[in-house]
Assembly symmetry: C2
Homo-oligomer: 301 residues x 2
């Protein structure tokens, strides 16, 4: 799993800071999470192939999280895309995108499938044989969801030496991977565990932005491998959190700790801070495994 | 008069090319013309003060001309703007902006006054004592206007030496500037022309993008000082103009010549061209005074 931070700053784009957008590479899917203004240029800068993006997840309808979406959709058209695009986001997202396409008399060369969200409980919004995606309801000024992306438990790994020694026919490989016990050439039943290794433990990634300190989300993100949690402010400006419904670095660390995640990534820094190292220091007082998101940074998960 | 090109490329923003946006500084107004995605960052890069922009002119509702508008409006809010913002653009622009503000539950700390355009004839859309702005109806795939910005004839310039020699009281200065003949201290009527110089001849700027070759616009832009005219393609790709309703560099030069403008600026280059010098060469075969728009370039008019 690989996470590319395209932008991790709040509010307004500047010459050297970009609003929220990130790409999660999970089991060969490229999932785009949020899409602030300028995301398509950041995708180019990070050399991410546009055609591989088939699913876009929008947390909420504040501009710094989705004003780049209509431009990306338009560019997909100009590039001659013909494959489906799935967009998951709050109710209203379809209306605003379709209105802009209608006003521009844009021709449609590929299908856009909108999955509008309005539930206040976590729900499964994407699933295939390798990955699931659930919403993480958050608490912000407008209806907002985070998302939790989970790998499914993979197939068992074949112990080739053991299979040979057990005299098992090669044609059983697929069944063995799926965990079946197998009769060998002499008719003896061989236990699967004796000829396979455990699969890699599945990894998971939770994206939580924007939100105030909201421990109600913990059951949904419990034990994830990596949590990205917004930290718009430092504790010294905690008073600003109440009206704006944002979190401090300490709030984020508390969520990470209570959810027993392995690693926390901070982001969505207010533009009032010129030095973001202080976010890491503040969070580390509560939770040790902290990293700072930076535009263009790639995290291996 | 000063024209800053924020972006002059067509279609999709890239790492080093920006979609259409420009700022015209005319008689102390900063007029923003078109506002493709990323315009607010280009404004920062060109060190243009956001608060000085009070009028935004949008030619048409294709994304590369207005997808940056909602982001700029939002940033104005975040910066605490409290002065009026006037937006001139095709019918529909109000609906799309207001919908996005509504979905984001954006608070309004300044008034936005929409001037929606739907006339197919040129009309006066802004006027004060120093400047007028008229639409220039163009021909594109969607309803499109260019704009012509004209200085009004300024006050006459006082010839201080002549005024002294004619024994005229200082209190008449304002009247002299306005062109009045004045009785001097001895009661003799002094002709205004003998104590003043002509004002600077008023300058004018026409913006014509996007459009196919459309000579019907010539009466509206006749004799302007500077014409910016789109040139999406070179003649070698003229066949593409019919469907896309764009112009070639040669088309732009023909309009410049027929309208007897003093200078032509080309822009809105298709991203298929890596070298834009060929646009200038092609236009020069028809009209001599040609310049190439480039992102970040400033033209003194």
């Amino acid at each position: 799993m690989e996470l590319t931070i395209l932008g991790c700053h709040s509010a307004t784009p500047k010459t050297n800071t970009h609003p929220t957008a990130q790409v999660l590479n999970i089991k060969n899917h490229l999932f785009l999470i949020d899409c602030g203004e300028g995301t398509q240029v950041q995708l180019r800068r990070c050399r991410i192939k546009f055609s591989r993006i088939k699913h876009i997840f929008i947390s909420h309808l504040h501009g710094d999280h989705y004003f780049g979406l209509i431009g990306l959709i338009s560019t997909f058209m100009l590039l001659g895309r013909d494959t489906d695009l799935h967009i998951y986001g709050p109710k209203g997202i379809k209306e605003v995108i379709m209105l802009q396409l209608k006003l521009g008399k844009a021709w449609f060369n590929y299908p856009i499938i909108f999955h509008e969200l309005e539930s206040k409980s976590s729900e499964l919004i994407f699933e295939d044989d390798k990955v699931s995606v659930h919403t993480v309801p958050l608490k912000h000024r407008v209806y907002t969801n985070g998302f939790v992306f989970k790998e499914k438990l993979g197939e068992r790994k074949i112990n080739i030496e053991a299979v040979k020694n057990a005299n098992i026919d090669l044609s059983y490989f697929q069944k063995i991977k799926q965990g079946a016990d197998i009769k060998n050439e002499m008719g003896k039943m061989i236990k699967n565990k004796s000829i396979t290794f455990d699969p890699e433990p599945p990894k998971s990634y939770a994206f939580c932005s924007d939100t105030q300190y909201f421990p109600e989300c913990i059951p949904t993100i419990k034990n994830v491998t990596v949590l990205y949690h917004e930290s718009t402010f430092l504790e010294e400006h905690k008073a600003l959190c109440a009206n704006t419904r944002h979190s401090t670095a300490k709030d984020a660390a508390k969520i990470a700790k209570e959810a027993s995640v392995k690693q926390l990534i901070l982001g969505h820094y207010s533009t009032r801070y010129s030095n973001i190292e202080a976010f890491k220091e503040e969070a580390k007082e509560v939770f040790d495994q902290v990293e700072l998101a930076k535009d263009g940074k790639v995290f291996q998960i």
